[in-house]
Every structure is written in C-alpha cells, then in structure tokens.
C-alpha cells in the first residue's frame, strides 16, 4: 500500500484526512477513511502530524481583541460627522445638479442659435441688397441673368446662397452639441 520511508499521506486520502480531522466528512465516508488510516502507517503519521500542527496553531496564534475604549472612540468620531444624508435626499440633490447643468447648457445653445440666426439673416440681406443694386443699374433685369445656360447658373448660385444661409441658421439654432431648443 505504501513505502514507509516516504513522508506524506496516500494521494487519494490527503483531503479526506483533513476533512476527517475537521469533522466535515459524512459518517459513512468517515468510517471508510478511518479504516484506511488504521491500516496505513503513512496516512496515520501524516494525520497525527496534521492534528498536532492544527492544535499548535489554535493554541499559539495571537487572538487579539478590541480595546475597551473602542466604542467611545467610535462614538466620538461619529458625533463629529453628524447624520448621513439618506438615499432620497442624495438622489434629489444629484437630480437638482443634473437639471441645473442641462439648463445652463440649453441657455448656451439658445444664445448660440440666436447669434447664428442674426448672422445668417445679415448675410442673406447682404446678398439680396447686392442683387437689388445690380438690378437698379439695369432696366432689363433679366439681362443680368444672362442668356441660355448662363442664366441658369446665375439663378442656381443665388438659390444656393439662400439655401446655405438657411441651413447655417438651422444648424446654429439646433446648436453644435445637439442639445435642442429649450422645451
């Protein structure tokens, strides 16, 4: 079954010997392990050595305790802290902070949108004023648009200018951060 010159239990029984010692084995399993230990010198020696170590550790390892002044010291520390905020209060405080942050971001967006709209309107009016000046110089304003394909290019340019102005106004109105118009 084993070589008595070696130290250590049979590999199959090592964990069982510890569990037997700790009283963790079911009765039937414990009986089988005890039978084996009775017949195996190596397992018996190892189990005895383990039991001795366990007893020594239990007896010799320090078992410190809290000092008698512990509770008073804790009460003193807590009295300085006061009552902690309850969950509901914490939650409403966080929600208030969140709402005020969103509100301030919306104000920034609104201001930015207004400035963008004014800028876009000014640009569009400038284009229209320039067009009016050109029209005033000529009685036949249709001649300004040129003939044939040239007319369509000029009209397309004017349309594109108005479209760009409208788009930039719209983009500024929504804001760069996409936070939306104040609801």
């Amino acid at each position: 079954m084993n070589d008595p010159t070696l130290i250590g239990p049979c590999a199959d029984y090592e964990h069982e010997l510890v569990e037997l010692h700790d009283g963790e084995l079911p009765p039937e399993h414990a009986r089988i392990v005890r039978l084996h230990v009775a017949q195996c010198a190596r397992c018996r020696a190892w189990a005895e050595e383990f039991a001795a170590l366990d007893a020594t550790l239990a007896a010799e390892l320090p078992r410190p305790a809290l000092s008698p002044a512990f509770d008073a010291r804790l009460r003193e520390r807590l009295s300085v802290l006061g009552v902690p905020a309850v969950r509901g209060e914490l939650r409403s405080r966080i929600e208030l902070e969140h709402d005020s942050l969103i509100e301030s971001l919306r104000k920034v967006t609104w201001r930015r949108g207004l400035l963008g709209a004014i800028g876009s309107a000014a640009a569009t009016l400038g284009v229209l004023a320039a067009a009016k000046g050109l029209l005033a110089r000529s009685t036949d304003w249709t001649s300004l648009l040129g003939d044939g394909p040239e007319r369509w290019v000029t009209m397309g340019t004017l349309g594109a200018t108005i479209a760009v102005a409208a788009l930039s106004w719209s983009a500024m109105r929504r804001g760069v951060l996409g936070l939306g118009w104040p609801r």
């Binding site: 084993n2 070589d3 010159t5 070696l6 130290i7 250590g8 239990p9 590999a11 090592e14 964990h15 510890v18 700790d22 963790e24 050595e49 383990f50 170590l53 366990d54 020594t56 550790l57 239990a58 010799e60 390892l61 320090p62 078992r63 410190p64 305790a65 809290l66 000092s67 512990f70 509770d71 010291r73 804790l74 520390r77 807590l78 802290l81 009552v83 902690p84 905020a85 309850v86 969950r87 914490l90």
Partner: protein
C-alpha cells in the same frame, strides 16, 4: 440578527440600524482586519475606519448584497489601502523566493525564548499573503470555513483549498530535513 438591521434600514432608521451593526460586526471586522494587517493597533484603526465608512454609506445600502458581504468588502478595501500606504516591505508571497527561504532558514536558528511559538509565527509569516490571511482568520474564527469564506469574499471550496495548501506547507516548512512526499 441581520433581519432586524435590515428592517430598520428598510424603514429609513439608519441610526438605529447602525446601533445594531456595531455590536454585531465590530469583532469580526476587527479579526478580518487583524488577519490582513498583522498588527493589533492598525487593525483597531482599520475597524474604526470601516465602521465610519459604513455609517456614511448605510443610507445608500440597497440590500442587493448581504449586509455582511458588504461590510467585509469595505473592511478589505480599508485594509488594502492601509497596506498600500505602508512602506514597501519584503514580500514572502512566493514561498520559493529568496526571502521566504531566508525566513524558513532563520526559523531553525531563531531565538531560544519560547522557540516553538516564535517558530510557528515565523512559519506563518513565510506563507504567501493570501494563505497567511486565511490561516490567521480560520483560527481566529474558531476553525469556521464558512466565516472565512464570507469575510474574505471567496467561495467555500477556494478557502478549503487555500487552508489545505497553507497547512501542508507549514508541515513541510516545520520539517528541517524535508523528505519529498510521494
């Protein structure tokens, strides 16, 4: 025990819940802190710090974890912060490291006064840190695997394995002329 505490918590009576938490947990928190810090005064300070943190955080405890699990997690974090704060010390985490071998060697030539106890403490100190903590806590908790598992936040099987390896290693270290097991 925890049921009474949780009733108070559910009703928003945090101060009354805390009045029950302190007597129920202070000693176990202290033993866990001692197993990690290896120093009585430091463990007591860590216990104070843990309970102050529990007091502050109790209104936010949502009951998703067991109260004990939550408190022991705070304890472990407090102790880990304390360990990090300390100056770097010689590590015995690797039992085969030079330091661990020196520690084991010094056991044989240690001081003569109460040699058995001194040797034992040095042997435990020569174990990897997680094994040291498990061994100290296991004997502080009157050999309860369940208590160790709960306090260290580990599965029961892991704790049994850890303790088995630790005690087997202690037996090996205690043999001056070690013979390799089959």
């Amino acid at each position: 025990m925890d049921a009474g505490i949780e009733d108070h918590l559910a009703a928003g009576r945090h101060a009354r819940a805390f009045d029950l938490v302190v007597p129920a947990y202070k000693d176990r928190v202290f033993r866990l802190a001692y197993s990690m810090l290896k120093d009585r005064a430091a463990a007591e300070d860590a216990t104070q710090e843990t309970l102050v943190r529990v007091w502050k955080a109790l209104p936010g405890f949502d009951g998703r974890a067991q109260l004990g699990t939550w408190i022991y997690a705070i304890t472990r974090n407090t102790c880990l912060m304390e360990l990090r704060r300390r100056r770097p010390m010689v590590s015995f985490d690797d039992p085969d490291s030079t330091e661990a071998q020196h520690a084991a060697a010094s056991i044989a030539s240690g001081p003569a006064a109460d040699p058995e106890r001194d040797n034992l403490l040095r042997l435990v100190d020569a174990l990897p840190r997680n094994q040291q903590e498990a061994v100290r806590l296991f004997y502080l908790e009157d050999r309860s695997y369940e208590a160790v598992a709960e306090q260290l936040g580990m599965p029961l099987g892991t704790v049994k394995n850890l303790l088995h390896r630790a005690r087997k290693r202690l037996m090996e270290l205690a043999r001056p002329d070690e013979v390799i097991a089959a």
